[in-house]
Assembly symmetry: C2
């Protein structure tokens, strides 16, 4: 695996990840670009004790460009995109329209291009390509964790116009937050209370409970289990836990990194198979906060992936309306056991060899 | 004001609210209806320590019916709707497709019809009609608070297909939750910490801060202030606070109830005026939990209304994608001060006499 660091015309970093150690990624960015926007602003909400980012420059961000203007495709002799190389495997660069900016130690936002193929999707990547994406996620998590002011790293993918995606090219994002996110802080508090109460590991106990219940399991291999959680909030929600206590992606072993792809691809293909439709989804890695900021959290928090779709039927979406958006109280229209049944009955496209039920 | 209680064919309650004390609402429901669905199920998420409702029967709920099949219009000799009366002012009835069910003491869900006029909206109601809606909200809050198992009452309106509304007729909902909602619990904890730290009232201090800053105020009258909060999460977000410490709607004085409508209508009309478009929004009353379940909360929590829109530009919506939906970390594309400026510059349709800037 080769990692090549370069810079775009406005000073932003770009990092290429290649399987071949002899890959050459030395084309310069030949565009003239204005300086990146000023740092976004952080504001504290005293009623919920949470930080909110104000990033007004994002209003002008690229919005659903046609394929021949895609900024995530490789450059060509005729057209310069965000990626100067004429070809790439996986590329990561600093977002031109960041929600947080690393200027002033206030975080950092990166874009991850999963493939150079404009019309592909994560679900259609090869396991080897997913393996390279995992390396990129782990690398970026480790590197962003060293930046002053970054307290948590979140690698995620938004997929589908229904969920607000503004670029079709298969890509994800990486946020280096200047704070521990509200949801992570709540999970840590719950894990701490659980340990104080029972002496147990909350994530291990949840995983053991799901494996004992069996009815919501979507797939298992030696290192990972995928399941619909018992208290799922979304019509289709799937969590992937590693079997070992691992706080973040850089701490995964080679075997764990390799085993992730086939299981995740199986889950993604089943999700699209439920209605025979490309499903909108959000998928992201929940990781322990950066060790320097929360050393105790590494012992409490287990890295895991959460994926959910807002599609509740072929022609219907689940919206976050009053109860969810205002009160934080979720109502799920599909029983988690029924969602698991639908996912298990869906054509996977991939192998079913890893399922505990075969 | 007259309040008439009756029952629908399947046993659900319907309550009419009329300005005139001689209103007669005695038409029976002539439909044959199946029994209401079983209670929804509550599941506890141990990782976020929150309750999630599973209500699978809601998948079959009415979805965007044409106007001549609207279930919220008055009945006619030819067609029986959810409202047996041939005319009404404000009507409240138990939801046929509830997220929570009162069977087994697990909460209750009601629908509030703001007007019998199918093609109206809240923003076009008269102040007198809003006054009647306020009475209905206060009445339902008081009554639902007496039900065993109801711990918090939430009166809210979802408006616009963009936000998932499935019926166009102007209506809101009332949820009697069988738990204190996650957001309310967090606010209460923050108010408690604020009091322990400073001795102060968090809501009073936030309101005083907004009034001192002035730049985000949208409107003020003797009893209420409307403002865009300093750490707004949404492109357009407006909070309405009463000037006095009041825990819930039933505790509002007659003068406070009467003063609410004109200010709120001004806010709603400005919101639609920003882009000259009918804006999708969620608007709801944050109230102290039911006294019997949380007596200390009445002293800590101030009732207030929060309204937000997901529209960030004429052709663009704010979606809750990875950062917001998964991590709870909001990024706002519009500076709260700019949103306040846009709202203040928008045509109100109503009187500007109450603004502090005139």
């Amino acid at each position: 695996m080769k990692r090549t660091v370069s810079h775009l015309a406005d000073g932003r970093e770009i990092i290429y990840f290649d399987e071949r150690d002899d890959a050459v990624r030395d084309r310069p960015d030949r565009r003239e670009l204005p300086a990146p926007p000023f740092a976004s602003e952080l504001r504290h909400d005293p009623l919920l004790e949470e930080w909110v980012a104000v990033a007004a420059h994002r209003q002008g961000r690229t919005f659903l460009p046609p394929a021949d203007e895609c900024p995530l495709c490789p450059s060509t002799p005729e057209r310069a995109t965000e990626i100067p190389a004429y070809d790439y495997q996986v590329a990561v660069f600093e977002n031109r329209f960041p929600s947080f900016s690393h200027r002033g130690g206030r975080g950092r936002c990166e874009v991850v291009c999963f493939t150079s193929d404009h019309s592909s999707s994560f679900a259609s990547l090869s396991p080897a390509q997913v393996r390279l994406v995992v390396e990129a996620w782990a690398d970026r998590t480790a590197e962003l964790s060293t930046l002053p002011g970054v307290k948590q790293v979140f690698c995620f993918e938004n997929r589908g116009e229904e969920i607000g995606v503004t670029l079709h090219h298969a890509h994800g994002q990486i946020y280096g937050y200047p704070f521990v996110t509200p949801v992570t802080a709540r999970m840590l508090a719950a894990a701490e209370r659980h340990r104080a109460r029972s002496g147990g590991d909350l994530f291990a106990d949840v995983l053991a409970g799901e494996r004992a219940d069996r009815v919501r399991i979507i797939g298992v291999n030696e290192h990972w289990t995928a399941f619909v959680p018992k208290a799922a909030r979304w019509p289709f929600e799937i969590h992937l836990y590693p079997h070992r206590h691992v706080p973040d992606l850089p701490a995964l072993t080679v075997a764990e990194r390799t085993a992730f792809g086939p299981l995740y691809l199986d889950v993604l293909r089943r999700l699209d198979g439920v209605y025979g439709l490309s499903m909108p989804y959000v998928s992201g890695w929940f990781q322990a906060p950066v060790a320097a900021h929360a050393p105790a959290a590494r012992d409490l928090f287990r890295v895991h992936l959460r994926l959910f779709s807002i599609r509740r039927a072929p022609g219907k979406l689940k919206y976050l309306a009053g109860s969810e958006s205002a009160m934080g109280a979720f109502i799920n229209d599909i029983r988690p056991e029924d969602a698991a049944k639908m996912l298990n009955a869906a054509p996977a496209g991939g192998s079913r060899g890893m399922s505990p039920r075969t």
